[in-house]
């Protein structure tokens, strides 16, 4: 069995690629079913967020697994396989475990230490479990990853300072407007990230928040959070000239704010600056809008760059966190290696048992009928002998399993006892 992770993230692929590869909730369920039917599949999990699309797999065939994932992504997302392959990274075994732990602990995040990724990973885990795509190994590994994330969060300061995409947005808003007092904000698409950003803006003085969302109920829910005003989704553009900050995170598959329209808005505002924050993937705002005077458009990648410059202070915590990850990965690998010798131990025990049973049968033939007491004594004698003989090799096998060149020892044992296989 091989464990691998294949995917794209904000480092390996630009937003144009990620938005093509991202799965929405519905597509994710279908993709999981598809994945389960692929040859070589044992267990699988698909994580799809704005910044990463990753497929974690355990499979029978090492070579087959890699090939399957890029083909799988190409087929389910309707892109050319040759187009997507250069953006993919692929990790196996120890490297894959390390990557998974780093993702869970938010060390691989665009904003190192941001807390949302853990929730997203948990959601992906729940969905995979619901579709029966997880059984033993991956399930246990993910549970371990959640614990590692928890440990990193409690043992380092990684989540302490407010460096995050949403906070970066607030920082930029301050650099544009000076003060956020009496500024009006509109949220298009009620997502978690936009909620966070709006919360920050509100705390920093923004007076009025308009909320618009395709599903009305969600808009109502969100508007209640910061007594915002609900705007009909079909009419939200009429309100654009009034607002200074727009945060878009809707799931619309096309641009919902385009250049021509924004030109009219900025004219209607008599050139008062407007700050557009597009955290949606695929993007909601036409990128060329940024070329208009007095319009400042930041998409998720731009925010990332801003954040990167702010991240220097976090590097120390991140290093501490990496040390924790290393420790956890080593521990996990040791545990896995220990598991690897289990089949050898089992077959060794079976071998001994077979020998014992065979000898017993032979003995019974020679001795004829025995009293139950005699039978019992014979049973106890042979069992105790076998256990004593087996004890040495088995405990040594367990001990050697986690050693770097333990496999030599395992091979030797198999050979000595004629265990076959391998």
């Amino acid at each position: 069995m091989r464990f691998s992770i294949t995917g794209v993230n904000h480092n390996s692929a630009p937003v144009e690629v990620r938005e093509r590869l991202a799965f929405d909730e519905h597509a994710l369920a279908e993709a999981l079913q598809d994945l389960k039917r692929r040859p070589g599949f044992c267990e699988g999990l698909i994580l799809s967020t704005c910044n990463r699309v990753e497929v974690a797999l355990t499979s029978d065939d090492r070579a087959g697994a890699t090939v399957a994932v890029d083909a799988f992504l190409a087929e389910t997302r309707h892109v050319e396989r040759e187009w997507v392959t250069p953006y993919l990274y692929h990790y196996e075994d120890g490297e894959a475990i390390r990557h998974l732990f780093r993702v869970a602990a938010s060390l691989d995040s665009m904003v190192v230490g941001e807390p949302q990724i853990l929730g997203q990973l948990k959601a992906a885990y729940a969905l995979a479990k619901q579709h029966g795509a997880l059984s033993g190994f991956l399930d246990a590994l993910l549970t371990r990853a959640f614990n590692v994330a928890k440990r990193v969060r409690s043992e380092t300061d990684i989540g302490e300072s407010a460096v995050s995409v949403s906070y970066a947005a607030v920082e930029l808003a301050r650099e544009i407007f000076g003060t956020l007092a009496d500024k009006k904000v509109m949220i298009v698409g009620a997502g978690k990230m936009s909620e966070l950003a709006a919360r920050h803006l509100r705390r920093n003085g923004a007076t009025q928040i308009f909320v618009t969302n395709r599903t009305h109920e969600r808009a109502v829910e969100m508007a209640q959070l910061f007594d915002g005003q609900i705007v009909e989704y079909t009419r939200f553009q009429e309100f654009l000239p009034e607002v200074d900050i727009v945060i878009t995170s809707s799931g619309a598959p096309h641009y919902i704010i385009v250049r021509d329209e924004m030109k009219k808005v900025i004219d209607a505002r008599r050139n008062r600056p407007v700050f557009l924050i597009d955290i949606a993937v695929p993007r909601n705002i036409e990128p060329s809008v940024n070329e208009l005077d007095n319009v400042f458009l930041y998409d998720i990648d731009d925010l990332q760059k801003v954040v990167e410059t702010n991240l220097a202070g976090r590097m120390q915590s991140a290093e501490e966190a990496e040390a924790i990850i290393r420790e956890e990965v080593d521990r996990m690998l040791a545990r896995l290696k220990a598991r690897e010798v289990v089949p050898t131990i089992v077959s060794l025990q079976e071998q001994f048992e077979q020998v014992r049973q065979a000898e017993l049968a032979r003995m019974r033939g020679k001795l004829g009928a025995l009293t139950p007491e005699q039978e019992q004594a014979l049973e106890a004698l042979t069992k105790s002998m076998m256990n004593k003989i087996a004890h040495g090799p088995i405990s040594e096998l367990r001990r050697q399993a986690s050693q770097p060149d333990g496999h030599h020892f395992v091979a030797a044992i198999r050979k000595v006892f004629h265990l076959g296989g391998d």
């Binding site: 000076g178 008599r270 600056p273």
Partner: protein, 272 residues
């Protein structure tokens, strides 16, 4: 110019002055409660203006466009009428920020062909001149601040647009703060320069009668003031910011520098 005609013209100038006050108030406080009274005064001023022109025409027997003063008078009147029409037809009130000062200054020039009075004493004359110079200098200082702040605005805007930070310049104030600074310094500058121009032209008119207007350096001063007016207008109505505003501010600053340099040569005129 005929006595009565000049009287009506001066009265019209005074009425236009209400409009000027309105425009300055708009620039400084962004809101002025007296657009309606200013418009009414402007309308009455325009009627008196017409009376003055008609009277002048009767006196000299033909349409009074013989010299610069008469032309300025007629031109100011036409602008006033045009503005009133545009206001009535399109309700374009914000144009008043530009038109009120323009008409006022033009009419004032027109009315200054014959000096209103002579200096009661040299002390008053010199104080008046000092007042003019002080106001113009204050205006220039504010203008310099405007230009510098506009350039900083431009740099900061570029940084935010290109999403890149230049280390050296990363400590610039926020755009909003720079914008406020530009608006305020420009408004104060405009108020001072306008008052300075009025003081200066009055002084020159009393001093030299009708000859001062032929000096190209004086004309240059008026052109500079006109540029400033245009800049203020573009900002107040169209909200010009960033590149356009910075270019404009630098252009006006250069113009002012040239005007100043030209006026250094005026000391011979000033000497008595």
């Amino acid at each position: 110019m005929h006595e009565m005609g000049v009287f009506w013209l001066r009265l019209a100038t005074a009425l236009y002055g209400v409009g000027l006050l309105h425009a300055l108030a708009v620039l400084l406080r962004k809101k002025s409660g007296f657009l309606k009274p200013a418009l009414f005064a402007f309308l009455v001023g325009a009627v008196l203006h017409l009376v003055a022109i008609v009277e002048l025409a009767i006196t000299i027997g033909h349409f009074p466009v013989d010299n610069f003063f008469e032309c300025a008078t007629v031109c100011a009147f036409l602008i006033a009428v045009l503005f009133l029409f545009v206001y009535w037809r399109y309700n374009f009130a914000s144009l008043s920020v530009c038109i009120f000062p323009l008409v006022f200054v033009l009419t004032q020039i027109g009315a200054s062909e014959t000096p209103m009075l002579s200096w009661p004493s040299t002390g008053v004359r010199n104080t008046w001149l000092l007042l003019h110079v002080t106001m113009i200098l204050l205006g220039y200082a504010a203008l310099l601040l405007t230009a510098v702040a506009s350039i900083f605005y431009l740099i900061q805007e570029r940084q935010l647009k290109n999403k890149k930070k230049v280390n050296l310049l990363s400590r610039l104030p926020p755009l909003g703060t720079l914008d406020n600074l530009v608006t305020n310094s420009m408004s104060f500058g405009f108020v001072f320069i306008t008052l300075g121009v009025i003081a200066g032209s009055t002084w020159a008119s009393i001093e030299t009668g009708s000859t001062w207007i032929r000096d190209p350096r004086i004309a240059l001063a008026f052109v500079t003031w006109g540029f400033y007016l245009a800049m203020v207008f573009m900002r107040a109505t169209a909200g010009w910011r960033g590149r356009k505003a910075a270019l404009m501010a630098v252009a006006v600053l250069c113009c002012s520098a040239v005007t100043w340099a030209a006026h250094v040569g005026l000391s011979t005129v000033l000497a008595k």
